[in-house]
């Protein structure tokens, strides 16, 4: 049995959410059963992703050919350290969201199909992290897009439809760009398997089609990830969704775009050639600065946090712009830290809403007196996001900025430091308005925050603290992941040396 489990480890983080989504849909009329199936599925997915991470750490890159079709003809699924870690962290986040949902999700939202859609989103996210085929990546992006639209419009309000429309238009544009880039790439190389592409592309003569394809990939993933000139859809849509959905989107969706960017621009294209580096550097700096400025003028907690997603994406892109092993390791560390912290801040926003009945900072207040525990739990991710030592954000920022000074990009490091300062400003604004000042309304009606909300916030806060006080293992892991990610030969060898199995042959 353990043998069976390690041999199929790659499948389960995909298969369990898929089966759970199907089960939740099949149990349509029974909300209680859906709730139970959802939580059970999330727990199992977390276990499965930990098993996967374990086998990647002990046995190296895991590869699976679905349907037993040999590469490059069949669809490969590949898990290296980076993707396995992403799957683990997204499963942790999904479980936290599932627990939070038990207290926050309303009957009407359950009837609109929250559980099947949520599990469907996890299928898309995990699929995107694990696939080794560029067209298959597109398919997972579409799966995510469809479920996302369902999740945004869970309440069927006018604001949500408006947000969903903005989201849909820009993301459809991005997937069309992505699809055209794939078409160009296929026209030049005749293959879609990432490992095969990584083998063929270095021997292919540079052409206009390839350069255009690379630019289109950058733009397509850039829209998904919320880069500087293309980010406006994000703060226009995220805050309309219900808070659990916002938290999951904030933690995961943009990071899938970032992940795809890293995969394509380490495996298929080099950042060095074709003028991609200055472009990425420009995007990174713009994303950091404009995200943080956008946040400064907002008063809705969710909008402030949405703009901060963008500014933080800039830090991660900074790692790709410099593209030294040190910078890539910093970026991996940053992504992991950021998923935990950002989702946690959205959960806190949900708790603030529960306690005071509003997301508008001007109307909140007095939470420090009424729920001191929540105040402490807010401070952990908030200070971590701003990069105050010794929390996880400090190490993440330190690694990226250190890499940028060493990698002859001191101006990027300077921008990053400046943006860090402004992040402190935004976080202290939330702190002063929601927690410190007295409530502006005369009749203070502060509701208690249920344990099911505090539990995930505390758990994610504990992860932040654990990374902060003991960053060494994660730093070592990030360096290993960055090394594997940059080493194309290892990826190619893993895909093509996968144990050939008797049975169906192409």
């Amino acid at each position: 049995m353990p043998d069976f489990l390690t041999q199929t480890a790659l499948l389960w983080p995909l298969a369990i959410p898929l089966a759970t989504a199907a089960l939740c849909a099949a149990l349509w009329s029974n909300a209680k059963a859906q709730r139970a199936a959802n939580l059970a599925g999330l727990c199992l997915t977390l276990v499965a992703s930990l098993v996967l991470l374990n086998s990647v750490m002990t046995e190296g890159i895991q590869v699976k050919q679905f349907g037993g079709w040999a590469p490059p003809f069949g669809i490969s699924f590949v898990a290296d350290q980076f993707s396995a870690a992403m799957v683990v962290i997204s499963s942790i986040l999904a479980l936290a969201a599932g627990v939070f949902a038990t207290a926050d999700i309303r009957r009407r939202q359950e009837r609109s199909g929250f559980y099947p859609l949520f599990q469907g989103l996890m299928v898309g996210v995990n699929g995107a992290f694990l696939t080794g085929d560029i067209f298959n990546l597109y398919v997972w992006f579409e799966v995510m897009l469809i479920t996302t639209l369902g999740l945004i419009t869970l309440d069927r309000t006018r604001a949500q439809l408006d947000g969903a429309l903005k989201y849909a238009v820009l993301n459809l544009f991005s997937t069309i760009l992505f699809l055209m880039a794939i078409g160009l790439l296929y026209g030049v190389t005749g293959t879609l398997n990432m490992a095969d592409l990584a083998m063929i592309l270095p021997n292919t003569e540079g052409s206009v089609a390839l350069t255009v394809a690379a630019m289109m990939f950058l733009l397509a993933f850039g829209i998904k990830a919320g880069f500087f000139p293309m980010f406006f859809w994000l703060p226009a849509s995220y805050h309309t969704a219900t808070i659990i959905v916002s938290a999951v989107f904030a933690g995961l969706l943009t990071k899938v775009g970032v992940y795809a960017c890293f995969r394509v621009f380490t495996l298929l294209f080099e950042v060095e050639d074709g003028g991609i580096r200055p472009l990425v550097a420009f995007f990174a700096a713009g994303t950091m600065v404009f995200g943080v400025f956008g946040a400064a003028i907002q008063w809705d907690v969710r909008r402030i946090l949405s703009f901060h997603i963008i500014s933080q994406i800039g830090y991660i892109m900074l790692g790709l712009a410099i593209a030294t092993p040190l910078a890539l390791a910093g970026a991996v560390f940053y992504i992991i830290h950021h998923i935990v912290v950002k989702a946690n801040l959205f959960f806190v926003a949900g708790a603030i809403h529960r306690a005071t009945g509003t997301f508008d900072l001007r109307k909140t207040g007095g939470l420090m007196k009424s729920s001191p525990l929540l105040a402490v739990l807010f401070l952990i991710p908030a200070l971590s996001l701003a990069g105050i030592p010794p929390l996880s954000g400090f190490w993440a920022k330190f690694m990226v900025i250190d890499a940028s000074f060493r990698g002859d990009a001191a101006w990027l490091g300077a921008v990053a430091l400046f943006v860090g300062l402004l992040t402190v400003f935004s976080m202290s604004k939330i702190w002063i308005e929601a927690f410190w000042k007295d409530s502006p309304r005369k009749i203070v009606h502060v509701r208690a925050v249920p344990v099911a909300m505090l539990l995930p916030i505390a758990a994610l806060g504990a992860i932040t603290l654990a990374i902060g006080f003991n960053p060494e293992p994660l730093v070592a892991f990030s360096q290993l992941a960055a090394e594997t990610m940059a080493d194309q030969a290892q990826f190619i060898a893993a895909v093509f040396n996968e144990r050939q199995i008797a049975g169906v042959q192409p």
Binding site: L23, A25, P116
Partner: protein, 134 residues
């Protein structure tokens, strides 16, 4: 609705279901399959909803469209599992030959797709027709 339309729609409903099942199994080696079959079946239910009303069509379907979608997805998912036992690979299908008849777990996958398509399309159509009724 005219009496001719409503009478003929019942006939066509039955015919379409038969054709859809034929299409489903024809897809094994020829054009057709779960997706096309599912579309034709969904069209049959849509015709019923148009000729009578949505409630009649919902009764004819017996289960909620989303539940049907979930059940189909489960079936398709389950069809991939045997491959795990034989060679540790999801969706590697099993085949049995009985005389000239090839039977495989791939057929189960297609039946799953058939249900998912019926459920998905009807989810949309029923909701749209109900808006019109109101």
């Amino acid at each position: 609705m005219s009496i001719i339309f409503s009478t003929m729609s019942r006939l066509f409903f039955a015919l379409m279901l038969i054709v859809s099942i034929y299409m489903l199994f024809r897809g094994h080696n020829e054009p057709g399959g779960g997706f096309v079959g599912g579309l034709i079946a969904a069209l049959g239910f849509a015709l019923l909803a148009l000729a009578e009303n949505v409630a009649t069509a919902r009764r004819a379907l017996m289960v909620h469209p989303v539940a049907l979608m979930g059940a189909g997805l489960l079936l398709a998912f389950a069809s991939g599992l045997p491959g795990l036992l034989s060679d540790r690979s999801f969706l590697t299908h099993w085949w049995a030959e009985i005389g000239s008849l090839h039977l495989g777990t791939a057929t189960t996958f297609d039946i799953g797709v058939y249900f998912v398509v019926i459920g998905g399309v009807l989810c949309l159509i029923f909701r749209l027709y109900e808006e019109v009724d109101q």
